[in-house]
Subunit: 210 residues, 2 copies
């Protein structure tokens, strides 16, 4: 089957396990590529340029905006964050399925430019489980946890804008479901235009001879 | 995850292997139910009422039409063929995924009434392979094979109306892909409204307490 890659946009509450599931996809299968954001914020200890983010200066980022080199971007707390277009487009052309972790406003902007993008929202099995996961990290204060839950409550209102909702109950199960879902997008009619064209032509040829 | 069944409409050229793939799904997994058509034609030797078709009289069929008891129906060569609604709806409500083998006009009528129905078109790897399969059956005359190929050439023009195109190269592979595709439809946002509602409510409750 003729394959161009699938652009899979993954959103979900903080604590839904997006990072873990995406890591499992990247480690488990060759066909995925992870889109890496550009940002103007400073690298944190342990972060590497080109791994967690592409760290760029503010003038560099603004030049990327002007040149249309970003699929989407936003400004949070005085810093820019955006998705470089070139990497996504080249990986898709190679036939790689590109994973893009992003929040809802960004996801909707991506969908405008890539109507074939697959929009998936990851949720924990329940809100209680979400709270437990956020607390279980042990790294966050009560205040931060409450903030994240409030943010989740806001984000939940955007869930209906996504195409698919996956429950992250067990990482392996959720990863398998996400993989199956992304792979099935290769069979969408819009991704099979070349196959349809070829089939029509061959059949015409074959029945002409008859 | 809250499940209502998926209605999977399967079309494809004669010789694409629809029957074999659907049989493999029904035998391989518990969650499928096969929709059985009603017809006014006579049973052929070996056919059983309620297995290949529901064999009904013409007045019975016309009563079904009038009562809206058929999702779609058509008349071919002086006989009626149609899809009884009650069976499909009850199986979907039970959470079964219903398989419906039907040609394009019927498929589009089903989609009008069940917008969530999944429309899949099965094709052989190539037109040459299709011809070989039709000839390989050994049961058909040259003339019938040519007729089927011409019909396939016509049907190919309708392929773009389907949502997914699956290539039936190897039965096991095609069956696995179709299974994954149908199962992924359970995670469509429209099938997860109850989950979204519950999540929103739980999050609201949890952040209210804070």
């Amino acid at each position: 089957m003729e394959h161009q890659g699938v652009l899979a946009v993954i959103s979900g509450f903080s604590g839904a396990g997006k990072g873990t599931v995406m890591k499992a996809l990247l480690e488990g299968y060759d066909q995925y590529a992870l889109s890496i954001s550009a940002t103007t914020r400073e690298p944190r200890p342990g972060e590497e340029n080109g791994r967690e983010y592409f760290f760029v200066s503010e003038p560099e980022f603004e030049e990327m905006i002007e040149k249309g080199a970003l699929i989407e971007y936003a400004r949070y707390v005085n810093h820019y964050y955006g998705t470089p277009r070139a990497y996504v487009e080249s990986k898709l052309a190679e036939g790689k399925d590109v994973l893009l972790e992003i929040e809802i406003q960004g996801a909707l902007k991506v969908k405008e430019q890539f109507p074939e993008a697959l929009l998936v929202f990851l949720v924990p099995p329940s809100a209680a489980e979400l709270k437990e996961r956020l607390s279980g990290r042990g790294t966050e204060t009560e205040e931060v946890i409450e903030k994240r839950l409030k943010r989740a409550a806001e984000e939940a209102e955007g869930m209906a804008s996504y195409e698919y909702i996956l429950v992250n109950d067990k990482v392996e199960d959720c990863t398998a479901r996400l993989h199956a879902l992304i792979q099935s997008q290769h069979y969408r009619t819009s991704a099979c235009r070349e196959l349809i064209r070829r089939m029509e032509e061959e059949l015409k040829e074959l029945t002409k001879k008859a």
